[in-house]
């Protein structure tokens, strides 16, 4: 089966067949600004990663449980790093806000 057949479902070559209705526009339009688009993409990526973890192979065989489960410690350290990073972003945004306020005066 040609891979185009599947795409043709979403992307009609002749848009006339659907009149003004463009499914792509309908799908993308609700998310207007770039930041939320990025956030949604990240969310979907994270969800699919979580999904693939949930379907992990039998215990003792998967990556996270290999080498005495040492990668669990790595994941915990990454989580703490992400937490501190999130705080840096929070502080950065507060500082930026104050800077703009000062510049406006």
């Amino acid at each position: 089966m040609s891979p185009f057949l599947e795409y043709s479902f979403i992307l009609p070559r002749d848009s006339a067949s659907l009149g003004n209705f463009n499914p792509i526009k309908v799908m993308v339009n609700p998310i207007k600004n770039n930041r939320s688009r990025l956030l949604f993409t990240l969310l979907f990526v994270l969800m699919s990663v979580a999904e693939s973890w949930a379907q992990a192979p039998a215990p003792e065989a998967d990556f996270m449980r290999s080498t005495g489960k040492i990668y669990v410690v790595v994941a915990v350290l990454v989580a703490i790093f992400v937490g501190i990073l999130a705080f840096l972003v929070y502080l950065e945004r507060k500082v930026t806000k104050l800077e703009t306020q000062i510049n406006d005066h």
Partner: protein, 349 residues
């Protein structure tokens, strides 16, 4: 040197990361290929070890132990390699006591590794077909003359394995959170007594960082639990209570945000903050100890020790608690100084 405690925090965390990640685990037993046996028969098994040195060791001995007075020692011990050991045990004709199935603990000992233990390694079943020539006895070969383990290493726990190191990262998040929330509560009391705006900013910034630490504690605990208890959230009493404590602290910010008047927001916020602290104590320290919990040191057994926190681990754990707590105070101080400057600028214009 007013920055000494920040330097101390950085040094301690550097020490914790280095030693906490590099010191090896004590030798342990991961699994055996045989898990059941019958009385009067010979049971053979291949044992897989972790960090073990079965081949290099001169004197490897093995026991199957039912309780403190009943054990048999291996009749044949052969090291296949450093991590694999082939054992044979001749089991006696009968079982002590009147149970028909008894779990036996596998104990290994050699002069390089010291002792390693696998609880419930083999289930011994009473067999009615008795070999009359078998002279093995449960009391002939006691577990004795064990070589000690003198090395600097962390205990090997079967479910935990290397994740025992998370003790230096997950637990200090909660210790740090409690110290930070205590500081926050103290500044709220000071604000109510003196009415100074700066005390309120202190209380607020400490509470923010406390919540950050709590969230990091929840997430790191969830990741740890996923691979040891089997799921990110198992509705363990301590998990639930800490989530409730965090929600109460989040409500502090919701409450503050709902007042237009800054003074009123600060005063009522301070009262709520003291209440939140008072609510956190039973949620984290009392309720989890009253019921069964997956967390060690709960379910009527305050404090944890033994194999969960031995003296080697203490040499890393206590510096970790101090280091992470000081780091939390450092982060809080940055936030406080920023908010103080912001307040001073707003007052000027």
């Amino acid at each position: 040197m007013k920055h000494w405690w920040k330097i101390l925090s950085a040094m301690l965390l550097l020490y914790v990361l280095t030693i906490g990640l590099l010191a090896p685990l004590a030798p342990g037993i991961t699994l055996t290929d045989t898990t059941d046996a019958r009385t009067g028969r010979t049971v053979k098994m291949v044992v897989t070890g972790y960090n073990s040195s079965y081949r290099s060791a001169q004197e490897v001995r093995a026991w199957l132990e039912l309780d403190s007075t009943h054990a048999v020692c291996a009749t044949a011990v052969e090291a296949l390699n450093e991590q694999q050991l082939e054992l044979a045990f001749q089991l006696p004709n009968t079982l002590p006591g009147d149970k028909n199935i008894v779990p036996a603990t596998l104990i290994l000992n050699n002069e390089l590794d010291g002792s390693s233990v696998l609880p419930d390694a083999v289930f011994v079943k009473r067999d009615s077909l008795i070999d009359s020539t078998n002279v093995a006895s449960w009391t002939a070969c006691a577990v004795a003359g064990l070589y000690p383990n003198e090395r600097y290493d962390f205990p090997f726990r079967n479910i935990l394995a290397e994740t025992i190191r998370n003790l230096y990262f997950h637990v200090p998040m909660w210790f740090g959170m409690i110290f930070i929330f205590t500081a926050s509560m103290i500044f709220s009391v000071r604000h109510l007594r003196g009415g100074k705006a700066l005390d309120d900013i202190r209380a607020r910034t400490f509470a923010t960082v406390g919540i950050l630490y709590g969230l990091m504690g929840i997430v790191t605990g969830g990741i740890w639990a996923q691979y040891t208890w089997g799921s990110f959230w198992s509705f363990d009493v301590k998990q639930n209570m800490s989530a409730i404590a965090l929600l109460i602290y989040m409500a502090y910010f919701v409450l503050r945000g709902s007042f237009e008047d800054a003074d009123k927001s600060a005063r009522i916020g301070a009262v709520f903050n003291i209440f939140a602290f008072a609510a956190m104590i039973p949620l984290l320290f009392i309720i989890p100890r009253m019921t069964a919990s997956l967390h060690p040191g709960n379910g009527g057994n305050p404090g944890f020790g033994g194999e969960d926190l031995d003296n080697t681990m203490r040499t890393v754990f206590y510096p970790a608690v101090i280091g992470w707590t000081l780091l939390g105070f450092w982060i809080s101080q940055l936030l406080y100084r920023f908010e103080k400057v912001q307040q001073q600028l707003l007052d000027r214009f």
